[in-house]
């Protein structure tokens, strides 16, 4: 899975492209871990180009959230499509992983 990284002063923005499934979830997990290890405590996942997410993908988001929280940071998601929003709503994960409409909104949130 292609994951573009955009480093901002106060956060890292990761842009995974394609399907976030069992096959690719571990790649995203590893990338979030690397990003946190490099000293970025706030990670924004820009999901605009993520076309599909299954439960393993959701597991990667939860794992990433945990990794950032352990260092006192946060993981936020921006621009999820309808299918990803549905997964978040059904699992009630949208209560802890609130989807933001834009990357800027996610960066500003606290």
């Amino acid at each position: 899975m292609e994951i573009e990284t955009d480093l901002r002063p106060d956060a890292a923005v990761l842009r995974p492209a394609g399907r976030l499934t069992m096959v690719t979830a571990s790649e995203l997990r590893a990338r979030v871990d690397e990003t946190v290890a490099a000293g970025h405590r706030v990670v924004v996942l820009d999901l605009a180009d993520t076309t599909f997410m299954d439960s393993s993908g959701l597991g990667a988001l939860v794992g990433g959230l945990r990794a950032t929280r352990e260092v006192g940071g946060d993981l936020r998601i921006a621009r999820p499509g309808a299918q990803i929003r549905t997964v978040l709503q059904l699992t009630t994960m949208d209560r802890v992983l609130k989807p933001y409409d834009t990357v800027e909104d996610a960066l500003r949130a606290s």
Binding site: D54, S55, L58, G59, V62, G63, R66, L90, T91, R95
Partner: protein
């Protein structure tokens, strides 16, 4: 060549398991912990009965790793096929002078079920012990037998994938319980490989408990966690409310899943056939609808996060409190719950839930409802996910 005695054959079967004097394993430890919690006894163990000793493969509430066979209660358990129960050892002439009773730990209660190896030999026992006398009813016996058969499954397989396939094959119910006035049906179409979906149902005291759950991911890990969720919900449902059952499941999952970021979504419900009342806990599942006799539909709202989610996020977090919701099934009403694989064959959004509900309108029976949902996948040859559905129909 001498004549092989039954005991020699039994010992050969035991040796074939290759498990004597091996280290503790989580797959056995979790069953033992679960039994301790469900029965509220201090001591639970899995023993392998060797020629003159018991080897404890898994235990809670016991210090030693082995014990003499001659003075053990398990000696009696493996000599017959049923659960062997001593409700009060001080009132049983066979045990009044037994060292386990007379000396430390001053045992009073014992219940053990024999563990049978594939060839039919009783090679070990799954046992509860208490220092208080206890009553042991038919419900308790069923529960102990369920847990013992789980241990038996674990005894015979050591290869992870083999275990996964066997475990998954054993997950689905083979018969449909007879609930007067209701039709019940379910199906699971697995996608490629071993998946994490399952459904289950069981009738206890005239009340139907049913479950549909989806463990994150696929492969051996998912199937084994699925087996745990199923066994725990099944066992815990015999004794308490839906919330209690789900809480117990979550607690034992936390031990298995903490730190792995794995979790399971589940819809777990109890139906009281007399009133049509369905109490349910929805743990991040969100895919259940009631199609009323008049054609209107109600979607049952998701109630909370998936099982294990809190522990995945923070292993030290207390388990979340889950409130049960309820819905009344009037004559002619149909409750259907299905896995997210069903959404994926549509457009994957919430609009798909409405589409499923629309197709269920006018379903004549639970079987018909299940067939209609499975029919959605017809023509999609390469489904990415399992497709699982359970329907409960109250006859008009």
């Amino acid at each position: 060549m001498g004549v092989e005695t039954t005991e020699d054959a039994r010992l050969a079967a035991l040796a074939q398991l290759d498990m004597l004097d091996t280290a503790p394993e989580e797959r056995f430890d979790r069953v033992v912990r679960l039994a301790q919690q469900l029965f509220g006894v201090p001591t639970v163990f899995v023993s392998l009965v060797d020629r003159d000793r018991l080897f404890y493969k898994a235990k809670v509430g016991l210090e030693q790793d082995e014990a003499e066979r001659d003075t053990s209660f398990c000696r009696f358990t493996i000599e017959q096929p049923d659960t062997f129960v001593v409700e009060d050892a001080t009132a049983d002439p066979r045990f009044v002078e037994n060292p386990w009773v007379v000396d430390d730990p001053h045992l009073r209660f014992y219940a053990g079920h024999p563990l049978v190896a594939p060839g039919g030999h009783r090679v070990g026992t799954f046992c509860l012990m208490d220092v208080q006398p206890r009553e042991f009813g038919p419900q308790d016996a069923v529960l102990l037998r369920d847990l013992a058969s789980w241990v038996e499954q674990e005894l015979v397989v050591d290869d992870e994938l083999q275990r996964a396939a066997q475990v998954q094959a054993g997950l689905l119910p083979r018969t449909v319980p007879d609930v007067p006035g209701y039709g019940i049906a379910g199906a699971c179409l697995p996608a490629r490989g071993v998946g994490g979906d399952f459904f289950d149902w069981a009738l206890t005291d005239g009340r139907l408990a049913f479950t549909l759950a989806d463990v994150m991911g696929k492969g051996g890990g998912a199937a084994i966690i699925a087996a745990t969720v199923r066994a725990v919900l099944r066992a815990a449902s015999r004794r308490g409310s839906v919330s209690d059952a789900v809480a117990t499941a979550e607690e034992s999952l936390a031990l298995d899943l903490s730190g792995t970021s794995m979790f399971a979504t589940a819809f777990h419900a109890h139906l009281d056939p007399g009133t049509g009342r369905v109490d349910y806990v929805d743990a991040g599942h969100g895919l259940a609808v009631v199609v009323h006799a008049d054609g209107t539909t109600t979607r049952l709202e998701p109630g909370g996060a998936p099982l294990g989610f809190a522990a995945a996020l923070d292993p030290d977090a207390p388990p979340p409190v889950r409130d049960a919701a309820h819905v009344l099934l009037a004559p002619g009403d149909l409750l259907v719950t299905f896995s997210d694989g069903v959404l994926d064959v549509l457009d994957g959004t919430l609009a798909s839930v409405d589409e499923v509900a629309r197709r269920l309108g006018g379903a004549s029976s639970a079987r018909d409802a299940v067939d209609r949902v499975l029919g959605l996948a017809r023509g999609t040859s390469d489904r990415p996910d399992d497709l699982t559905v359970v329907a409960v129909h109250r006859e008009p």
